[in-house]
């Protein structure tokens, strides 16, 4: 210990340069709610920690022509206080607001939740369902990735050395769109999701015109489940469609047994959560 260096650059270029040049482990420090826990347990021993909270481009919640852009360093608490974003994307907002306690919300960031790449991360299924895209800066320049392509495994991302997620874009949705996120946890708060389900759908009067369904905590990454969406499209979310949705959600799961839940439990409850999230998304779509 004592080998760790802390830097707090105020520009994106500086941050990228620091990360690209680091030999050995370098980590981005956003909210620190995952990083400091990993540091304390000795799971990681980074030589460099780059605090990105001073970088303007990574902060702020702004409505742009293309949609809502959230800086990667935006915290859950800031999302919780943003009435317009919550109104436009209630599902994404509620998912972000479910990350941890009030104290954790004061620090945890949308970028961090995504890039920590826990299969159970709460914001991710809702982001995927919303069709969110990550804007990435790196030594070779900028690029974009659909959120569902970012995590590649537990704790693993598609980011190259020196790359940082700068912001997330929630693309403008057609009228009649609603989204929702639900998770199953044993207590009422504080738990990592045993199953998470994000649904975003567009209703055209009583028919579902489009849908995206994503599941968390049931595979090595959050999953976009096209078959689950197909179960909804063209339907009025009647019983048969719900049953098909549940079946497709359960079928997509490839979960593990762990201290939070068994495989069988996750498979079963994935279907239940997907249906409940779909019903809420539909209510919101028709508001």
């Amino acid at each position: 210990m004592g080998d760790m260096r802390y830097e707090a650059p105020d520009s994106l270029d500086q941050a990228v340069a620091l990360l690209a040049a680091a030999d050995g482990q370098a980590r981005v420090l956003a909210g620190g709610t995952d990083l400091l826990v990993q540091l304390r347990s000795g799971l990681i021993e980074p030589g460099l920690v780059v605090d990105i909270k001073k970088i303007d481009e990574m902060r702020g919640i702004n409505e742009e022509a293309e949609g809502w852009r959230l800086g990667a360093a935006v915290t859950g608490a800031e999302v919780g206080e943003h009435a317009a974003l919550k109104s436009a994307w209630p599902g994404v907002s509620e998912a972000i607001e479910l990350i941890g306690s009030t104290q954790v919300q004061g620090r945890a960031t949308v970028g961090g939740n995504l890039c920590n790449a826990s299969p159970a991360a709460d914001s991710v299924p809702a982001m995927i369902a919303a069709g969110a895209r990550a804007s990435i800066a790196g030594p070779k320049g900028r690029r974009e990735l659909a959120v569902e392509e970012l995590a590649t495994g537990p704790g693993q991302t598609a980011l190259e050395q020196g790359e940082i997620v700068v912001s997330l874009l929630l693309p403008k949705a057609p009228a009649g769109t609603g989204d929702a996120y639900l998770r199953m946890i044993p207590r009422t708060e504080m738990d990592i999701a045993i199953v998470g389900a994000g649904v975003c759908l567009t209703m055209d009067s009583d028919s579902c015109a489009a849908a995206r369904v994503a599941l968390g905590a049931v595979a090595e990454t959050a999953l976009l489940v096209p078959a689950a969406a197909e179960a909804l499209v063209g339907s009025n979310l009647d019983e048969a469609a719900m049953a098909a949705l549940a079946a497709a959600a359960s079928a997509a799961c490839r979960p593990i047994d762990d201290k939070r839940g068994s495989k069988e439990y996750r498979i079963k409850v994935a279907g239940v959560m997907a249906c409940r999230a779909a019903r809420t998304a539909r209510q919101r779509a028709q508001q």
């Binding site: 199953m184 708060e189 504080m190 201290k259 939070r260 069988e264 239940v272």
Partner: protein, 756 residues
């Protein structure tokens, strides 16, 4: 002398603010890790990553050589102890086992077992030093589950355990340390006579006391071997006894001061890091602060037993229980000594029985040595018993409260463990439950209601207090039992009641071990009872002395002086015309009349009265996910006399919350490798504020004749009935009975699916 028949009290039964309250709401109060000393070192402990292994060698040389490291200790720094049982809380511990638990000797017996420790100039140096200690382990197969540990071919933890309590004594060593048996009556006849017999088996998992403050201490040993220890503990005198023994010191040369304690619940009645900190300090000749991390608390302190319990119950058609049988299989952890004995005592205690038999098995396995957890052992046995009682009531078509009333123990009932009860509040608690609005409230879909009762015997024990009258008429009350939940106030209230003075004139202080004779722990629900009893005795001694002084001043006979409302007065007009002398006036003249005025008491408090209680719980189950919501929880319990009702309510509510956690979500999860998978508050799931409703309480008062104010201990009984009450409520909601706890959502959903 029992003053429980008094009418109006001035202080007893009121709700004054606690004297240590302001320090606690401002952050000023000093808990175990909150002090520092000049020249202080930071300690850290190296712990076994294996559940079971022989220690072939330990090489501390590289750690000792690291700059900043001032001492390294291991088994070589602790003398071996011969086998000797001593009391710890409501259980016994063996010094031979204790020295090995504090620092592993031949073997490591659980993931987290201490192997070595360092003291260094900073936490980061200490952490680096631990990495330089080389331990050569020979990993052995391990066993954790109690039933698996009892099998003849199970991995053996100790080669010198030959089961006690069985005939003939086995010639082969095993993990079965002891068999106990209590009861009376003709069991066979009892079951014969039954119209219905129900036999069920239950499984529970280890749970932790869950105190928010980790174990913490600051040890300071001088070059001549005198030592001071500041630590978070339920009993500074036991810490002194254990540490002195383990370090080979005279008890008189070790002064232990109890810090404020951030929760204990029985888990801080023994020593873990305290002897280690002292050994490090002795070696380094500098103070050493040693604090457990949360991870260490879960892995290396004293969670309860996980257990397997078999219950067999027979009852007649009219609801009379004809025979009650239980067999308890309890994990002791790495060393013998589970709480199976008190578990057996309490299992059927609330009921008057003709035939009762409880057999208990104490079994070692590769998980930490258990420590007491609030009514040790009883929540588990009673969970099983009260579930079967509930099933029997349903089978007989009886209301569950009426069924319990039919069989309720009362004054004169003989307990399964022998004695006859004095007055107890079982019937009163059941009748209050029946009459409570909660019991009548309607239930909605997927909702269920459960009821259960419980008993704890409570203890008294050795207690010393000292009450000194200051020159200005105020008093200092020195007690030796740490204040876990407001006892400073309760003691001051009792002393003020006796003396007839304002409670604000009495400052209660918790003394270190140098200031008073031996005090047993703040445990066993004994503090208000025993320290209160000693306080009353000391106060009465002070009153006697005050009367003598007044008599001297007035030159009359002491029998002619009475003490009333804080003043000495002539007994009647015959005694003479004298103005009353207040305590302040007498205090002022103390020197002139003979010297400082004080009272003290050194007692072994006897006559602790049991506390009986009944709890009602409503739950709602989500049948698609197995999720359970606790909607309502009412605790009805006998306090004998509630000195400070808010603190009694607090005990009822806190115990109820622990029941809910134990019943629904708390459990130790071990991997195939025998390592604890959830040593943190993220995945060891205690109830959070949003999980619980308001918890209603009803304080019943059936006075305990042995205490001047009728006090019964109340701290432990609240954790006993609640688990079964939750389980019975879940059963009511689902129509299915689960037979294991915790009833986490995956288990509940599985039970729903298996029931079809």
């Amino acid at each position: 002398m029992n003053d429980a028949a008094h009418g109006e009290y001035k202080w007893i039964g009121t709700r004054p603010p606690r004297p240590d309250g302001v320090d606690k709401v401002t952050g000023r109060a000093k808990f175990g890790a909150d002090t520092a000393l000049p020249n202080m070192l930071v300690g850290a402990v190296l712990r076994s990553p294996h559940a079971h292994a022989k220690i072939k060698s330990i090489d501390i040389s590289k750690a000792e050589a690291l700059p900043g490291v001032k001492a390294v200790v291991s088994r070589d720094d602790f003398q071996d102890m011969p086998s000797e049982m001593v009391p710890a809380g409501e259980m016994m511990v063996n010094y031979r086992d204790m020295v090995r638990n504090v620092m592993a000797r031949e073997k490591v017996l659980y993931d987290g077992h201490a192997v070595a420790a360092v003291a260094a100039t900073s936490a980061s140096v200490a952490r680096r030093a631990l990495k330089l200690i080389e331990v050569d382990y020979e990993v052995l197969p391990h066993v954790i589950d109690v039933m698996a540990a009892m099998k003849p071919d199970a991995p053996l933890l100790h080669d010198d355990i030959f089961t006690e309590g069985v005939e003939p004594v086995p010639d082969k060593a095993s993990n079965v340390a002891k068999r106990i048996e209590i009861g009376f009556g003709d069991m066979a006849a009892g079951f014969e006579a039954a119209a219905e017999v129900i036999e069920r088996e239950f499984d529970t998992q280890p749970v932790h006391q869950g105190y928010i403050e980790p174990h913490a201490c600051l040890a300071d040993v001088s070059e001549d071997g005198q030592a001071e220890l500041f630590c978070s503990t339920q009993g500074q005198y036991l810490v002194r006894a254990h540490c002195a023994r383990l370090l080979g010191m005279d008890v008189s040369r070790l002064r232990v001061t109890a810090s404020e304690i951030g929760g204990g619940f029985g888990g801080k009645t023994v020593v873990y890091i305290e002897p280690v900190a002292l050994a490090l300090s002795r070696k380094a000749c500098r103070p050493v602060k040693l604090v457990m991390s949360r991870d260490e608390v879960f892995r290396a302190s004293g969670p309860t037993s996980g257990a397997h319990v078999r219950i067999k119950l027979g009852a007649a058609k009219d609801g009379t229980i004809t025979a009650a049988e239980a067999e308890l299989f309890y994990q002791a952890g790495a060393f013998p000594g589970s709480s199976v004995q008190p578990a057996a005592m309490c299992a059927f205690a609330p009921y008057a029985l003709e035939a009762v038999n409880v057999v208990g098995w104490d079994v070692v396995s590769n998980r930490p040595k258990i420590s007491a957890y609030r009514a040790p052992g009883a929540p588990i046995s009673v969970y099983a018993v009260e579930c079967v009682l509930d099933e029997m009531a349903a089978r007989l078509g009886l209301d569950p409260v009426d069924f319990r009333l039919k069989n309720a123990a009362k004054e004169g009932t003989k307990a399964a463990y022998g004695p006859k009860f004095g007055p107890i509040g079982m019937i009163e608690s059941l009748e209050a439950a029946k009459a409570h609005a909660h019991y009548q409230a309607p239930l909605g879909p997927n909702q269920g209601r459960g009821v259960a009762s419980g008993f704890w015997f409570n203890i008294g024990g050795e207690t010393c207090v000292s009450l000194n009258l200051n020159e200005d008429g105020t008093l200092n009350l020195l007690v030796g039992t740490p204040d876990i939940g407001g006892s400073r106030a309760s003691m001051a209230m009792m002393a003020a009641e006796e003396l007839g003075v304002d409670m604000a004139d009495i400052q209660t202080m918790i003394g270190d071990t140098g200031s008073l004779g031996f005090n047993f722990l703040s445990a066993g629900s004994r503090t208000t009872f025993s320290t209160g009893m000693a306080t009353v005795e000391a106060a009465r001694t002070v009153i006697e002395e005050l009367r003598r002084r007044a008599a001297k001043i007035w030159e009359i006979d002491v029998d002619a002086v009475v003490w009333e409302q804080g003043s000495a007065k002539p007994a009647g007009s015959n005694a003479g015309e004298f103005e009353p002398l207040s305590i302040a006036e007498l205090a002022k003249q103390a020197g002139a009349t003979g010297g400082p005025i004080a009272g003290h008491a050194e007692i072994n408090a006897q006559g602790a009265g049991p506390s009986l209680g009944t709890q009602i719980v409503d739950v709602e189950v989500d049948p698609e996910t197995g999720g359970i919501t606790v909607l309502r929880h009412t605790v009805i319990q006998d306090a004998g006399k509630a000195i400070h009702p808010a603190y009694v309510e607090g005990q009822y509510q806190g115990g109820a919350a622990q029941c809910i956690g134990w019943a629904l979500n708390e459990e130790y999860v071990y991997g195939e490798d025998g390592r604890l998978q959830n040593p943190g508050f993220l995945d060891y799931r205690i109830p959070v504020a949003s999980d619980l409703p308001m918890i209603d309480t009803v304080i019943i008062e059936v006075p305990n004749p042995s205490h001047p104010y009728g006090v019964r201990g109340v701290g432990e009984t609240p954790i006993i009935p609640g688990i079964a009450a939750v389980a019975n409520a879940v059963s009511g909601a689902l129509g299915i009975r689960l037979s294991q706890i915790p009833m986490s959502p995956p288990r509940v959903l599985k039970a729903i699916e298996e029931a079809g």
